[in-house]
Subunit: 272 residues, 2 copies
């Protein structure tokens, strides 16, 4: 297995990125479908779990991890992997579903801004404001001109968050069309998962290429050093988890977290 | 009394605006301290009150009125005048006080974005995100560089709101230093108002010129056609109310509000 200390470089959105040329089955961190990947991921998440209380105690940084990806790309699975390792008190996950009537009565960033992390928090968005330039565009609810306007809103919004202390990591979970078929079929066959399916999901699958184009545009238009996009090949679930763990750990290590200094008066206390 | 149909021009922030050159006792809508001003204001607010249900029924526009001004400039009084005339169901007033611990743990636009009007709503902000470039600056909590950054955030935020259907009106209630003295003294002498006072208010009064400069910068830096500033001379309370009523009415009239068309099926119904 290659050193995971370079994940932030390995997975950063390349210039002139196209999904057609990208390989969703690539495993640049090493072949995770055999060998010691699980131990490696667990070891990384243990280090994340050790840094999180420091993040929380210091109350200086806010960390936001955005997960996006096609249906069945493993967003829920990735969140479960993270939660399994990190104290849930320190990790907040927010799932953005189809907007409610009250949410639709406001601008599309309204419900997202409400949920951004506070100082000391680590928050994971399962879907996000990016849906408002993805599915809405594929379904023709917004046109190219409105999308352009929204890319600008999103860039402004994320820059404001970054300039007020938020570290933003955006991960696109990349699966192939074949892998999606396999996973959707498995869900269809599983009585414990059938209820999650909507016939509309299969209609959306027909618009695969339109989704690819929408993602390519959105990623290119909203990638920046203060809110970078990472493209994680996600056909392999173990590789997906290892990659996300690496990206998260390297980001947290980059914050140079420290325990806050104690009140000097404390050092003089003798407990009798 | 001059025609009130030009208030949006009369009070719009002039180029090269300075507070020192502005006259807080001016009454361009006519001398309101005598004569028929009360009837005029009431008549305008009645028209506002008649338009508001249409705004609400149409659920298309969102209207945000931001009130800013020095202590004792009449923000509360203006809100009371509006509420006296408009059905409270259709008007929501939000007072932004010193931020709470949870608010401080987020970016300074977080608590403001939560409260922006939904479709069909008319919302009044008594103080706003502008406090984060005014009192914070005068008190040295943020420096000029950080203020510049915040002006950009605020411009971006307001443009996004405007582009997603919000009509923004920002009113600066301008009082003179002498008028503030008179009003603060009146509060000091009134047992029903003493409790609202804080010795810190009188310290802030000493920084009058610093506040003036902070306002001049903030107004100039954040004025735009989609989020315009209006400077309302407010030494005269009746004139203040007449001016705000005029600005609000002209803005609502500019929206060309209409009752939504009924479901055609309704027209075929015969109630027996």
């Amino acid at each position: 297995m290659k050193s995971p200390t370079k994940a932030l470089e390995l997975f950063r959105l390349p210039d002139d990125f196209t999904l057609r040329d990208a390989d969703a089955s690539r495993q640049p961190l090493g072949d995770c479908d055999k060998g010691d990947h699980k131990d490696a991921t667990a070891a990384l998440l243990e280090r994340v779990a050790a840094l999180q209380p420091m993040l929380n105690a210091q109350r200086k940084h806010k960390v936001l991890l955005v997960l996006q990806g096609m249906d069945a790309s493993g967003k829920d699975g990735a969140v479960r992997s993270l939660f399994g390792a990190i104290n849930p008190v320190g990790l907040r996950a927010v799932s953005f579903k189809a907007p409610t009537e009250i949410e639709l009565a406001h601008d599309y960033l309204w419900r997202v801004h409400r949920e951004v992390p506070a100082k000391g928090e680590l928050t994971v968005f399962n879907r996000s404001h990016y849906e408002d330039v993805l599915i809405t565009r594929v379904q023709g609810m917004v046109d190219a001109k409105e999308c352009k306007r929204r890319y600008a809103h999103i860039r402004d919004f994320e820059r404001m968050l970054a300039e007020t202390g938020t570290t933003i990591i955006k991960v696109f979970l990349h699966i192939s069309r074949d892998e999606q078929r396999t996973r959707l079929q498995a869900r269809l066959d599983d009585p414990a998962k059938q209820w999650k399916l909507d016939p509309a999901d299969f209609e959306l699958r027909k618009k695969w290429r339109a989704f690819e184009r929408a993602y390519e545009d959105a990623l290119r238009e909203t990638d920046s050093d203060h809110a970078p996009w990472y493209v994680v090949p996600a056909d392999s679930k173990p590789h997906r988890d290892l990659a996300i763990a690496s990206i998260l750990l390297e980001t947290l290590e980059g914050l140079k977290l420290k325990w806050p200094k104690p009140d000097p008066a404390l050092l003089a206390i003798k407990i009798r």
